[in-house]
């Protein structure tokens, strides 16, 4: 039976001023009648990072999908941006899952422009953005000819133009080389600096030290 055994959260300076972006109480989830976690309690203030760690199969992805609203919890509530109007908080949240939401038949450029339209964002120079994420020279080849890491970089371009305040990223570093990871962590630092919050799962430790880091370890895994 796995339960949340330790919430090792660094002494978070709970200034009254900072706005709580997401608050969840008594979260529990059973997946294919296997209890993943029970009575989970967490709250994410602005410009903070929640790092969810744990072995494979411990329900990290399920928790993130639950926070993003893709998956209803078996019990407990998740309130986001202090509103329960689905539309307003979804406009503020960005979720990137395991699979990079990239159409294989289209080129990186097409994927970027179409996804930006869905995100309601205007990109002035897509070529420049693709260069910053390290896709120089690969902009107009169909995505299926790109490697997994390069396809993930296409998905990660959203972090550069999206103005959502809460980012929920499921293992953003997978398939990325060291340069990609450093690039991403710089972007995370920028995001937290101007008031955004970040929830991520990963198997690599964070080399960048955010001011407000909460670590949530989901114990257990496969019994």
């Amino acid at each position: 039976m796995t339960s949340l055994d330790s919430v090792t959260s660094h002494p978070v300076a709970q200034q009254q001023g900072t706005e709580i972006l997401l608050h969840a109480q008594h979260l529990s989830s059973t997946r294919a009648n296997r209890l993943l976690f029970r009575d989970l309690e967490l709250s994410i203030p602005a410009s903070s990072v929640l790092y969810v760690a744990g072995p494979n199969g411990s329900g990290k992805s399920t928790l993130l999908r639950m926070l993003a609203g893709l998956y209803a919890p078996s019990s407990g509530t998740v309130s986001r941006f202090a509103t329960d109007d689905n539309e307003t908080w979804q406009r503020q949240t960005l979720f990137i899952g395991h699979k990079p939401a990239v159409k294989q038949a289209l080129t990186a450029l097409d994927n970027l422009q179409l996804q930006a339209q869905l995100d309601g964002a205007q990109i002035d120079d897509p070529w420049q953005l693709l260069e910053t994420v390290g896709l120089l020279g690969l902009e107009d080849i169909p995505a299926q000819q790109l490697s997994a890491g390069q396809q993930r970089r296409i998905a990660l371009t959203r972090l550069w133009y999206s103005r959502a305040r809460l980012w929920i990223l499921d293992e953003p570093f997978t398939a990325l080389d060291q340069a990609g990871i450093n690039l991403l962590q710089e972007r995370f630092a920028e995001h937290c600096a101007n008031g955004g919050a970040l929830v991520l799962t990963s198997h690599q430790p964070l080399t960048w030290q955010p001011q407000q880091l909460q670590t949530l370890t989901l114990g257990g895994g496969h019994e």
Partner: protein
């Protein structure tokens, strides 16, 4: 702030699927070739006599239209589910039913409309008398959106299953039965010169009903499949 409007979402989804379809032309052409080939089989099977063929022509074309829409149903959500775009569609601020309607529209544009355009060739091959052609195309024009909407529900329900093909036809064929009855009755009536307004209006009513309710069912089905 993601301030995308409903209309932007619909037009982007249609543009995206259109571009993907243009990159993979065979996804659109294969169902149409399937229709032509199956229509060619009937004269070879029952003989080329115009009297026999003429009578069964409307029914054959309608049944083949059904089967080809089932054939094309894989393309609706399968790719989006596999590459993760379906999840992002669920997370859009605009209601999921709107996204589902956009999916149904683009699927109809890519499979239903070409079918209606192809009907004269099939009617010619099956020796359908000329005065039945207009009614057949009208019933197909009203019927194919219903086909697309119902197929979308089935496809959304079975998208997370590995091999959903046979199950899909099992789910959908019963839903197509009123469609077949009214459409072939309309063409039959046209052949003997009887008034066909009744059946056509019924089909139109069925289309409006399906196009309003199906997106809600598709949205619910997508939510079920995604998590």
């Amino acid at each position: 702030m993601n301030n995308v409007t409903t209309w932007q979402v619909i037009s982007t989804i249609i543009a995206r699927d259109w571009r993907v379809a243009m990159r993979r032309r065979s996804d659109i052409l294969n169902p149409l070739l399937f229709v032509l080939m199956v229509v060619t089989l009937f004269p070879l099977a029952v003989g080329p006599g115009p009297d026999v063929l003429g009578r069964i022509a409307a029914g054959v074309i309608w049944v083949v239209a059904l089967l080809s829409s089932l054939l094309g149903s894989e393309r609706l959500f399968r790719d989006d589910y596999l590459d993760g775009t379906l999840e992002q569609l669920v997370l859009l601020p605009t209601p999921l039913a709107v996204t589902a309607l956009a999916k149904i529209i683009i699927h109809w544009l890519l499979s239903g409309l070409p079918l209606v355009i192809l009907t004269p060739v099939c009617a010619l091959l099956l020796k359908l008398p000329m005065d039945g052609w207009a009614t057949l195309m009208l019933t197909l024009l009203l019927g194919t959106p219903i086909l697309s909407a119902l197929t979308a529900i089935g496809a959304a329900l079975t998208v997370s299953l590995g091999r959903g093909g046979a199950l899909l036809s099992l789910l959908l064929l019963p839903l197509f039965i009123p469609l077949i009855i009214f459409a072939s009755a309309a063409v039959e009536g046209a052949l003997v010169g009887a008034p066909i307004l009744g059946q056509v209006l019924l089909l139109a009513g069925l289309m409006v009903l399906t196009l309003t309710l199906a997106p809600l069912a598709v949205a619910a089905a997508i939510r079920v499949s995604v998590n």
